[in-house]
């Protein structure tokens, strides 16, 4: 896994250096595209916060809440996993105002992407919680822990380690889905690229650079999650040894 990622990173860096040295035109587009990249990163970070929050709320509600709330969280998960992210984005952007709720495009983007990824994340969180060995629950009951204590001290710390790799994949999905916000006129990396393509007609240069910038953002997320995974893994082995 490490080797594959390093190979991809190396190839991307080499390609970028090659492009920049062979063709001066690439430098022209870089500042404008990086401006768009800032908005892309902002939306990614904020939507990630919404997604992680929604995922935990929905997963815990689906597992432990009373029935009506359980149904509600199931409905949220199925609806946001079952419809397309772009449809959700358009629905919040065009339809919500008709019900009297007018949100700014940036807020819509963060909400729609956060809710979408959060629905997938809820299943990740739920899966990680129920995959914690049954004996751990039983031992906590034997120790006379309350349900809150059990979750907080015993179950969730172990579930965290199991859910980091799938969260890594979901966050990459999130990075990629931020490109959709260009379709509700937010000047992110994708929209900047389209505008530059239309004004300069340097199609090859613009879109190659954009792909490389997205690749850089995705790889950063992958590496960050890999570091987190190793930290969590270390904690687990220490716990087992002790």
């Amino acid at each position: 896994m490490w080797i594959r990622m390093l190979a991809a990173m190396l190839a991307a860096t080499l390609l970028l250096i090659l492009l920049l040295s062979l063709n001066d035109e690439y430098w022209l587009f870089l500042p404008g595209l990086l401006q768009g990249a800032v908005l892309t990163v902002e939306i990614t970070l904020l939507a990630a916060i919404v997604a992680i929050f929604m995922a935990f709320v929905a997963a815990l509600a689906k597992l432990y809440a009373p029935l009506p709330i359980r149904w509600l969280s199931s409905a949220y998960i199925e609806i946001f996993r079952g419809t397309s992210a772009l449809v959700q984005l358009f629905w919040l952007y065009f339809v919500l105002p008709q019900f009297g709720v007018s949100l700014d495009a940036f807020v819509v983007a963060v909400l729609a992407l956060g809710l979408n990824i959060g629905a997938y994340g809820a299943e990740v969180v739920r899966g990680a919680i129920i995959s914690v060995a049954r004996g751990q629950w039983e031992a906590s009951v034997a120790l006379n822990m309350s349900r809150g204590q059990m979750l907080r001290r015993i179950i969730l710390p172990q579930a965290f380690a199991a859910m980091i790799p799938p969260w890594g994949n979901l966050l990459i999905e999130l990075v990629k889905s931020t490109s959709l916000v260009s379709l509700i006129t937010l000047a992110d990396l994708t929209l900047k690229a389209q505008q530059m393509n239309q004004t300069t007609l340097k199609t090859v240069q613009v879109f190659t650079l954009v792909l490389l910038i997205y690749l850089a953002i995705s790889l950063t997320v992958t590496i960050a999650m890999r570091v987190l995974e190793q930290r969590a893994g270390q904690g687990m082995t220490r716990g087992k040894a002790a």
Binding site: R4, M5, A7, A8, A11, A12, E78, I79, R81, G82, T83, S84, A85, L86, V87, Q88, F90, W91, F94, V95, Q98, F99, I172, V175, K176, S177, T178, S179, L180, S182, L183, T190, A193, Q194, N197, T203, V204, F207, V210, L211, Y214, L215, S218, L219, T222
Partner: protein
């Protein structure tokens, strides 16, 4: 707020657009499933070319599909290859999901015990026959459910084709919206269509999964 007369008026138009969406899904998945198998096979057969395939797969998987659609639609004409929007879009979706499918196939190949290869060598089978008659029949059935999940994922990404003005569901809904200033019904109907199709396909994948488990 919700106008039923308007809903029934736009239903036939959206129905026709839904056919385009389904066509794009089927064609895209055919490309994804075959190209994915090809990529995974190349990786299995030629380790050196395999590195190139690995890098390509990682590149495709970590960049947005929307950009890849734009790339095919705008960059290929510069190289003299002019594709219409539908072809370019379906090709982009197919190539994007081929990268995901190739990982699924790879896992399938890795699940076949090494002894099967060794036994085939002992039986003096050629490596092509070993691959076709021994390895593939064992590698494919377990990966079918995973491929099914990618079919659903692919289906849900087809609205991206609206970005290059393919007249699928989302684009049609947008056009109706901009003409009538009513987005509530068309966009909601598109959502309902996707939800319905996704739920049906998901339960079919689950059914297939249990059938395969029972059979193998």
């Amino acid at each position: 707020m919700w106008d039923w007369a308007f809903t029934f008026e736009i239903l036939p138009v959206l129905g026709r657009a839904a056919i385009v969406t389904v066509e794009a899904t089927v064609l895209g998945f055919v490309i994804a499933a075959t190209l994915g198998l090809l990529l995974a096979s190349i990786r299995l057969a030629f380790p050196l070319a395999g590195v190139a395939v690995t890098v390509l797969v990682e590149l495709i998987r970590s960049t947005p599909l929307l950009i890849q659609i734009f790339f095919l639609f705008f960059v290929l004409p510069k190289a003299g290859i002019v594709l219409d929007a539908f072809t370019a879009g379906v090709l982009a979706i197919g190539i994007h999901y081929a990268a995901y499918c190739s990982e699924v196939y790879r896992a399938g190949f890795e699940n076949v015990p090494r002894g099967q290869w060794e036994a085939s060598i002992a039986l003096n089978l050629s490596s092509w026959r070993t691959f076709r008659d021994i390895i593939l029949p064992q590698a494919l059935p377990p990966v079918v459910p995973a491929l099914g999940n990618y079919l659903i994922a692919l289906f849900k990404e087809t609205p991206l084709l609206s970005a290059i003005a393919v007249l699928e569901l989302m684009q049609t809904a947008k056009i109706i919206g901009s003409e009538t200033f009513r987005y509530t019904e068309p966009v909601t109907l598109v959502g309902v269509f996707f939800l319905g199709m996704s739920l049906i396909s998901a339960s079919m994948v689950r059914l297939l999964e249990s059938w395969l488990k029972w059979r193998y």
